[in-house]
């Protein structure tokens, strides 16, 4: 599970983005930042693998026709599992589900963060107090035990349940960040102007506040996706995923269940874990880059002589 650290110090983007546009902000952020580029290239690589899985994988990932725990060779790049499946093919096809969980759960968590965080800041007063308390409670509750309990009770190991559990436990961090940024935007002139024009609150939030928080929202999406990758892997590792599904976490579950390390088949453990870490790193790098964009104080500086 990634360590997330809670700070209140989120400052406002220096420039109001309206002239450059949302797409412009994102594009500029990605190309100007080496960390973001590295993350984006990795992420793109996994996307391509997921889409072209049938072309890349040499065998059917479910086929049991090979020898058991065969060591890596030309025929089997990463060897075979304890039940004789080709590990490389499993890895390639597993990309699809792992990526799907990350993006779906990341999106769900981001939507809840935006709704809770921005409305808390915008409504203020008692509502802010209640929503903020609600956010903090979810932030502090240890999520893994909670996910485990909900997962065991549901006894339904489907993809949708997994995503829902991750969304429920993963939105709070982003909501807190968005709230502090929205709070600092609240009294800016362009919002005063919109209010003076007599715009409705919903219009102001959607067309004036949110566009100015684009880079933070993007950062939060990738942070939530990172959380989703790790949470899904953890849940599947301890057997709370669908054991018949094909994803990196499930591969690790079967590797551990078959004692792959002790049986002299370390690749079975190393490969899926490496993919999880690489996809997670891609998300983490993009997340960090957008944090830097939304908070100029954190940007790297040239060393003064």
């Amino acid at each position: 599970m990634a360590v997330r650290v809670v700070t209140d110090q989120v400052s406002v983007e220096t420039a109001v983005v309206s002239r450059r546009g949302i797409a412009g902000t994102i594009a500029r952020g990605l190309t100007a930042n080496r960390k973001a580029m590295a993350g984006l290239v990795l992420f793109g690589l996994f996307l391509v693998v997921a889409i072209l899985a049938p072309v890349i994988a040499p065998y059917d990932p479910h086929a049991l026709q090979f020898g058991q725990m065969v060591q890596p060779s030309g025929a089997h790049l990463l060897g075979t599992t304890g039940t004789g499946q080709d590990i490389f093919s499993q890895l390639v096809f597993g990309t699809r589900e792992s990526l799907l969980i990350a993006l779906a759960a990341g999106l769900g968590a981001t939507v809840i963060s935006v709704v809770v965080g921005v409305s808390a800041a915008y409504m203020g007063g008692l509502w802010d107090h209640i929503l903020n308390l609600f956010t903090d409670v979810f932030l502090v509750l240890p999520t893994l035990p909670l996910m485990i309990i909900v997962g065991t009770y549901l006894n339904n190991r489907g993809l949708l349940v997994l995503v829902a559990v991750i969304v429920i436990t993963g939105w709070s961090y982003g909501a807190r960040q968005l709230r502090s940024q929205a709070l600092s935007l609240r009294n800016r002139e362009f919002l005063e102007a919109a209010r003076a024009r007599g715009e409705r609150s919903l219009y102001i939030i959607v067309f004036e506040v949110l566009p100015n928080m684009t880079s933070l929202i993007v950062a939060i999406f990738f942070g939530a996706a990172l959380y989703a990758v790790l949470a899904a892997a953890g849940l599947q590792f301890i057997g709370l995923g669908d054991p018949n599904s094909l994803s990196w976490g499930t591969m690790l579950y079967w590797a551990q269940a078959n004692g792959a390390l002790l049986a002299g088949s370390p690749v079975w453990v190393l490969a899926p874990g490496f993919c999880i870490a690489a996809l997670g790193a891609a998300f983490a790098l993009i997340n960090y880059a957008f944090d830097e964009i939304s908070n100029p104080a954190l940007r790297p500086v040239r060393r003064r002589k």
């Binding site: 599970m1 990634a2 360590v3 997330r4 650290v5 809670v6 700070t7 209140d8 110090q9 960390k35 308390l133 903090d136 409670v137 932030l139 502090v140 509750l141 240890p142 999520t143 893994l144 035990p145 909670l146 485990i148 309990i149 909900v150 065991t152 009770y153 549901l154 006894n155 990172l226 790790l230 892997a233 953890g234 590792f237 301890i238 057997g239 709370l240 690790l252 551990q256 390390l261 002790l262 370390p266 453990v269 190393l270 874990g273 999880i276 870490a277 996809l279 997670g280 790193a281 891609a282 998300f283 983490a284 790098l285 960090y288 104080a297 954190l298 790297p300 500086v301 060393r303 003064r304």
Partner: protein, 327 residues
Amino acid sequence: MSYLVRRLEFFVITLWAALTINFILPRIMPGNPAQAMIVRFHGRVSPEAVKAIEVAFGLHSHESIFQQYLEYLRNTLTGNFGTSVTFFPVPVGDVIKQGLPWTLGLVGMATIIAFVLGTLLGMLSAWRRGGFFDAVLPPVFIVISAFPYFWLGLLVLLAFALTLGWFPLGFAYDLTDSINLSWSFVGQVIWHGFLPALTIVVTSIGGWILTMRNTMITTLAEDYVKMARAKGLSPIRIMLMYAGRNAILPNLTGFAMSLGFVISGAILVEIVFNYPGLGFTLLQAVHSEDYALMQTLFLMLTSAVLVAVLAADLLTALLDPRTREQG
């Protein structure tokens, strides 16, 4: 004092939320898990245990849901957590008492080490903005923070225990030995705890480094730091006693809030190392669908995080007069 009142409110409400989640979950879940459990355990456990499950999950109860809730709260707050099905007929409280010290010891030690090291490294990296530490540490730890805790545990296990044979493959002490307070036993515990602790430190230290760096960047811009520089104080003194000292406190509160994430990771690490703490107990509870044990574990882990948060809050109120004045 309104700061403390607010934090106490948070403490009480979170605890209440955890208690209530535990009460509501089994009652709103589809397919009546309690009924299914009783059917499965029928004949394997005593009638009293079945009765205990029925009471805990509100089956065949003629009481209103509100009365059940009150009774549940009273039972939980008086330490009556029910009977574990996994370790029948041991009460859940006793099962947890066996695992708790191991988890507290492991996570506590690892967190203290990560705090001291991470704070120092974060300080250095902010002080030398653009220097070696600042260029290398943040990206490295961004990548490490994306590692699954348990996978890093497996890697460490493969490298240092299986291949090199420097450390044991798991457990908290030699199983041939019994728990005692001799030096050799303490040595064993450290030797067995080293790899799991290392895993937790490596994955959690990045958070400390990055927040400490970011908070310190803010304090370095303060006037009192300029003043200290103008007075010609030694750089080390300015770094530690002026900028660093003022950056630690917000960092501490922030990290206490995210301890829940560390605990979640530690659970998986314990599972990888067969470490006999609460995380390992949780896995056993999952395998035998021991709801009473699972829910109490959730409650215990939440309480542990909350106590840490409250301690950080008290410390902040004690050391930072501004929090007391502003409220």
